[in-house]
Symmetry: C2
Subunit: 303 residues, 2 copies
């Protein structure tokens, strides 16, 4: 690795972060990964990456810090908690925050970090683990021109599409929340519809064929209902993700004095699924909740 | 018109029925149209069609009767009410019912008509007025093989796609209701999301660009949100349509003991829009309801 290679620290080597770290390395960036789970760090090192035991050890010398933790609270702890990295990051480096969070919190974290002379890029991601590993994510980003310029080598390595949504943190987060509101409602609606179709005794494969060619279609109906038809609820994306994300939508809408009855109704169904023990199963498990509540019979697991 | 041409009666010359009658004539079928509004009949006659003052006058000699009335109650009145046509239809003729209705009612009407020696095709339509006029509708049909065979010339003239969904009335209606559940929820979700974006001060054109390329997209988001961006609420499809159709979904779900919280929440928003005086405006008017309830500012009407 040449001494002039851009240095990146990736904090959080879960299903998304691990793939993003792989994509950064593949693009020739000098990448150091860290995670609270030592085995994730060991796995990254075994593939030839540099590992660090703690975030504070990963960030000195980094030009770019990519944070791929779960939520706002973890992001705040990474930056400003015990062993937080804000002071350990080189001045002028950029913190790229990918966790989905309330825009107001993104603005607050950015202001606090920028006051120390580091840059903050509000950069929530979408695309899933497979696309993370291929460097094909979509990023909904906002931040200062300097933050974008600093982060560019990492963005180019991780994403096929970077939406540049404004020059202040919070805008990227807000776009992501609008998307999550729709995605969360559409999954719940898809499950409500397919289980009602089952209750009516309809041919569910035919329902899928007709709806995906009709005005009732959504990206999520098309993507998730095959899981129901196969009876396969292994997690591609877990129920708990939307417990979290529609929870953020509700918090954000409540603080804005904005009534969001569709998002509220959908959240209840994710809570019911999680409460019934399906929190770590695929989010299409909402169909099983509707079936339990109504006596509808869904397809069993295909061999 | 040759004496061997298939004879069709169209009952209901509204925005859908008028276009369907035009498509039937264009395909060479001997078409007689009727409507409770005399001016609609006069307009059809002025274009060269045959008009009749009442349904009872339109159906004698018809091979196919296409009913394009608003709902189940009107369909029942056309068939069995005062001046109803059931007895006036030739034996062996087919009644093609396109109104959206509860599947249980479709089954009941079919059984009653078939007991008199006429056929019933449960054939809800989708596609809107423009496609009706071009003979490019989608039909979600179910009924006996004899009903399909009899109705075929009319189906071919009116539709680009006929889904054959089963051999009993009710199945077509059930598919249509599943589609309407999704369509109605998706419009409400689209309006909830775009007005929340407005409340957040986001660039709404950019929101449209990002969402239509993301997992939060739906057919309805893509189709309806441009009305909001243009501030143009002239009715392409009116709020009252979903007051009716989600009402049917609720009736059907309630009688099946099926909880449908997303559809229920969406229905409340259509009711609010209609209650606030927007019932005959475009269904994207739900965005205006959210704006009124939250202080969000939506784009005004473009010149």
């Amino acid at each position: 690795m040449s001494s002039t290679a851009t240095r990146v620290a990736v904090i959080g080597l879960g299903s998304m972060g691990f793939g993003m770290a792989q994509s950064l390395r593949r693009a020739g960036l000098d990448t150091c990964g860290t995670d609270v789970a030592a085995e994730a760090v060991a796995r990254f090192a075994a593939e030839g990456g540099r590992g660090a035991a703690t975030a504070a050890e990963a960030v000195p010398g980094a030009d770019i810090v990519v944070s791929v933790v779960v939520n706002a609270a973890q992001t705040e702890a990474v930056l400003f908690g015990e062993g937080g990295i804000a002071a350990a990051m080189p001045e002028g480096a950029v913190f790229v925050s990918s966790a989905t969070m309330d825009p107001a919190i993104a603005r607050r974290l950015a202001a606090r970090l920028e006051a120390t002379g580091r840059h903050y890029l509000d950069a929530p991601i979408s695309g899933g683990a497979a696309r993370a590993a291929k460097g094909e994510l979509t990023v909904m980003a906002s931040g200062s021109p300097a933050a974008f310029a600093r982060a560019r080598p990492a963005l180019d390595a991780m994403a096929v599409k970077v939406y540049e949504l404004g020059d202040a943190a919070g805008t990227g987060a807000a776009f992501k929340m609008i998307n999550q509101l729709l995605a969360g409602v559409h999954i719940a609606a898809a499950c409500e519809a397919i289980s009602l179709a089952a209750k009516q005794g309809l041919d569910l494969g035919k329902v899928y064929e007709v709806i995906t060619a009709s005005a009732g279609n959504s990206w999520m109906f098309e993507n998730r209902i095959p899981h129901v038809l196969e009876g396969d609820y292994r997690p591609a994306s877990a129920v708990e993700i939307f417990v979290k994300d529609l929870g953020i939508v509700q918090d954000m809408a409540r603080s804005e004095r904005y009534p969001a009855p569709l998002a509220a109704a959908a959240l209840q169904m994710y809570l019911a699924a999680a409460g019934a023990g399906m929190g770590r199963d695929d989010d299409s498990s909402l169909a099983r909740v509707y079936a339990q509540l109504s006596g509808a019979v869904l397809p069993g697991r295909k061999a």
